[in-house]
Amino acid sequence: MALRSVLTRKTTLGLGLRGIQTFSLPDLPYDYGALEPAISGEIMQLHHHKHHQAYITNYNKALEQLEGALAKGDTTSIVKLQSAIKFNGGGHINHSIFWKNLTPVREGGGEPPHSSLGWAIDTNFGSLEALVQKINSEGAALQGSGWVWFGLDKESKKLVVETTANQDPLVTKGQHLVPLLGIDVWEHAYYLQYKNVRPDYLKNIWKVINWKYASEVYDKESK
């Protein structure tokens, strides 16, 4: 199935200064049930159609309010809106990456990375197993809601494992960080299937991780 991504749609809101983009829910490149048994179709549907959609809806709302505030020079409101933009915009960014980080087994889900990324992983972490173990233990130890990331530091050219709280994007941990893979460890990402056993979710998700995508990003960003 071809990737149909309807990520942005320009709309002018006729407020005089300039139009703002409104955002819409990107389509998944696979069916809701295609990642089973690693991630249930029920979770995928709720996660994509309800949670991600809610972030987008609220992000658009916040942007609309921001545009109004900017037009009026209402600094109090501009500042007050920052947290809503961070939560919801961050949620949109993170989940958009997440859907691309996953792929059905029959389309290469779980196949380990080769060539440049594979080599870089061995250099930075010793082995793929060691990297996975690090990501899983950081993900399991994260208190509350957040994400565990595998990323590239564009400046130092090093590969890193990081966590962020709530919907903070990876870039909040370092301006040169580019996400290669992100795993959502908010409870909504796994609860219906794995309940409180987050480590089992982290163990199983590797069966549907899209290393091809991660490699593409790595090749592009490490030039």
């Binding site: 208190q143 509350g144 809601s145 919907q167 409870e187 909504h188 609860y191 409180n196």
Partner: protein, 240 residues
């Protein structure tokens, strides 16, 4: 709130916090301390230490279970209702504010009704001009394991808004869960008795602070007398 939710929430999540904290404190100086002391110490004025999450969550969950009862809901009465009406305008307005706080706590956390006495919101600051007007009910929300003990408030009511608290029953519909909590689960009896304890504790603390202040003033007055005596003595010796 379904049986399945309680089995997981109490039987797995709450239990895990207890087991993990026990493992963390065994053989350390925290071993044998009261849970509240462990919480205050590991909150560390905001720079939280590893035991805080488990300790806080144990306290929070116990408090949460006791905030509910089968056939709960309805309206509070007596002193509690009076204070709610005084500090929020009406019971309905209080409910709206509480529901809104619970719905807008982003990520994991809790929403609370608390008795603030005349504490300040900053951890280790002393209120320079405590007044009776400061003694009010407040609604606060907190992330992850944080609770109002961190600000020296007295918690009266809590709702858990971590996703594990409602996901099996309501999925993403947190507002429906919050509504159900208010309408069918809250134990206003528990909240009322907590308020009485909080007011009594606050009165005791004030009394103690008064006594300490008076004792210090007396001490200062005594020492002034001694200084004067010494001064006279010196003058006399010079004359001679």
């Amino acid at each position: 709130m379904s049986q399945e939710t309680l089995e997981y929430h109490w039987g797995k999540h709450h239990r895990a916090y207890v087991e993990n904290l026990n493992k963390q404190i065994v053989g350390t100086e925290l071993d044998g301390m009261s849970l509240e002391d462990i919480i205050i110490i590991s909150y560390n004025k905001g720079d939280i230490l590893p035991t805080f999450n488990n300790a806080g969550q144990i306290w929070n969950h116990e408090f949460f279970w006791e905030s509910m009862q089968p056939g709960g809901g309805g309206k509070p009465d007596g002193d509690l209702l009076e204070l709610i009406e005084r500090d929020f305008g009406s019971f309905e307005k209080f409910v709206e504010e509480f529901k809104s706080a619970a719905a807008t706590q982003f990520g994991s956390g809790w929403a609370w009704l608390a008795y603030k006495a005349n504490r300040l919101e900053v951890g280790n600051a002393v209120n320079p001009r405590p007044s009776n007007d400061d003694k009010r009910l407040v609604i606060v929300k907190s992330p992850n394991a944080v609770n109002p003990l961190a600000w020296d408030y007295s918690p009266l009511l809590a709702i858990d808004v971590w996703e594990h608290a409602y996901y099996l029953d309501f999925q993403n519909h947190r507002p429906d869960y919050i509504l159900l909590f208010i309408e069918k689960l809250v134990s206003w009896e528990a909240v009322s008795s907590r308020l009485e304890i909080a007011k009594a504790r606050d009165a005791e603390r004030e009394g103690e602070e008064e006594r300490k202040k008076r004792a210090e003033e007396e001490k200062m007055a005594d020492s002034k007398g001694v200084e004067m005596y010494l001064d006279n003595d010196t003058d006399n010796s010079e004359v001679e």
